[in-house]
Assembly symmetry: C2
Homo-oligomer: 364 residues x 2
């Protein structure tokens, strides 16, 4: 499952005004699509309503990345400002497309404690007396269609954002980069999940980067810089910063999934162990002598709380936790080093430093 990203502080990142403009753009898009769907029957209106419910009301993390880079480069006075909310909305829609299809692949019917699109349609089919297996497949089928719509309109919103021809072309190249990478990452994830051998730390981080970080951090940040008319060196810096922060995010996520305080994070700290999730911790531990004792417990559906506690202790003793924490610090340092480059203006540095804090704050 693609984890949801941290909730950025509205004041610290992007600014409430521009954030509101992204919400408005999404509302306008869904209003128009729903009205258009009405000519195709109530089922279609309903699917669009579900897609809307699964897109709006979120944290808009990716649009905030676009806004932060745009504003940080001094964008507010630029004539592309009107396109920013639409490009932001496009990245949010791309995110919806990817999580809806990722949930199909993971056979997840719930997201953030509520039925996702698959779940809503499965439950409806169940209630209509359809067999459990067919109801599930019906849910997944509706989600395949909904994800296709979100993917298509992600591209479409960039295309119609009103930005000039040259920047439009570059933004679409970036969307292409994001989609091409995330499909590769999804495929690698599929391979690793089924693999008997535990992948290496590099494999895990590379997969996570492709599947999530490119489209969540690197590309939205680069898109904001492109919209602001930044030079190539700054666009490159945004990609590098996004890559380091995205990797840091993944490591924090892996650490919290095992050692997190469930009260603080609101997330289970046993399900990664029970599901046998391939994380940085596990990839490190699997290459140590301690793994022989851990392997039988890891990924066991019947993992007890005591077993989980034993695994946690072994992950500590084997050095996996310290390794991950050290790796995290390295990536955070590199992210800061990117912001310290001479080509990154002070205003951009100020906009982006909070991104590091937000990613790290989850770990406290």
């Amino acid at each position: 499952m693609l984890r949801s990203l941290p909730h950025p502080d509205e004041q610290a990142l992007g600014g409430a005004l521009r954030y509101r403009a992204v919400v408005d753009a999404l509302e306008e898009f869904f209003d128009a699509s729903g009205a258009r769907a009405a000519a195709y029957g109530p089922q279609y209106v309903e699917l669009w309503r579900e897609l809307r419910r699964n897109t709006t009301g979120g944290k808009l993390f990716r649009p905030r990345m676009v806004i932060a880079a745009f504003d940080g480069f001094g964008g507010p006075n630029d004539d592309a400002a009107g396109a920013v909310p639409w490009v932001g909305a496009a990245f949010e829609l791309l995110h919806t497309a990817l999580i809806v299809h990722d949930d199909v692949i993971d056979r997840d019917f719930v997201r953030r404690g509520k039925p996702n699109i698959s779940g809503t349609y499965r439950d409806r089919a169940r209630a209509a007396g359809v067999s459990e297996q067919d109801a599930e497949h019906r849910g997944l089928s509706a989600a395949v269609v909904a994800g296709d719509l979100a993917l298509f309109y992600a591209y479409r919103l960039v295309d119609r954002s009103g930005v000039d021809e040259a920047r439009r072309g570059r933004l679409l190249d970036l969307m292409d980069e994001a989609l091409f990478a995330s499909a590769a990452g999804e495929l690698l994830d599929l391979d690793y999940s089924g693999a008997i051998l535990i992948p290496t730390v590099d494999n895990i981080l590379s997969m996570a980067r492709l599947k999530t970080a490119v489209y969540s951090f690197e590309v939205p940040l680069k898109a904001g810089a492109v919209l602001a008319g930044a030079p190539d060196s700054v666009i490159q810096a945004m990609g590098d910063f996004g890559r380091e922060v995205g990797t840091a995010y993944q490591i924090v996520d892996d650490l919290l999934g095992v050692f997190g305080d469930t009260e603080e994070t609101g997330k289970s700290n046993t399900s990664d162990l029970r599901e046998g999730k391939r994380t940085v911790l596990v990839a490190h531990a699997a290459a140590t002598a301690a793994w022989a004792e851990m392997a039988p417990l890891f990924g066991s559906a019947e993992l007890s709380e005591a077993d989980a506690q034993a695994l946690r202790a072994k992950l500590e003793q084997s050095g996996a936790r310290a390794y991950a924490e050290d790796l995290l610090a390295q990536h955070v340092n590199r992210a800061r080093a990117v912001l310290a480059r001479p080509e990154v203006p002070e205003s951009l540095r100020r906009e982006l430093e909070p991104v590091i804090d937000i990613v790290l704050r989850r770990g406290r």
Copy 2:
């Protein structure tokens, strides 16, 4: 399952030269994508290879529609000629995206007697010792990712076809129209397949139009006219012609699925009955008194050849066959009437008359 369309005569439709240019455009696209995928690992190259195998080597029916309308309006001398193969290739890729995801929804692992993308990945997982249910899901998962890529790059190929800004915008509006309609049709199909009540003839034809005819006939024909710089009245005529021919195609398909000569069509004439496919024939019969006797056999997995013969006889006696044949004639007449409109130039009429013959030829 979306049926494959009739094989158009190369000489009659589109012309060999321009047909070859579409093949070249697809080859160029897949060469470039495969080379790009190499940086993401061998699994990704393999997925692109499968996507290519499932896109190329087909009949290129939709590109031929683009070409026929373009050439028919006197396109060959137009400066948009260079964009035609790319727009054609885009429609072929859209077709691949839709059938790959449709096969996921129908849980089909075979197309034209060969493993499709789901089938290839399922078989591979099976061979690796994965359980049957997980192997199937693995196949479906790879197909979800592959279909996403095809869908995204369908849009991208139109976007990058090199056509001028005004026509690019109109072509993307058409792609939007096609995708919006086919998603609605897929959703209706999902609803009808699971429904206990048999939908009406109008419902069936409307669903088939949305799911298949809009993106296979109407929109590619309109796209060819747009590329040729035809006036709105001609673009409108292309849509109307596509709609009638697309509906005729669906009725022929329904008739052949029950009354076809399997030797001639190469297709089973019992599987529609065994699967309980919602066709024009069945929709008509379900509204007659004869249905009470037919209902218990229709959709029975154990349908014998004798049962199928009995159903065929009842579809004849109830008047369903005659009704469908009459409806087919009406749509063919309307298609001819569109071509006879004064705004349709003689050259365009000559290009498009063979389309009617090709659709009907399947019925002989």
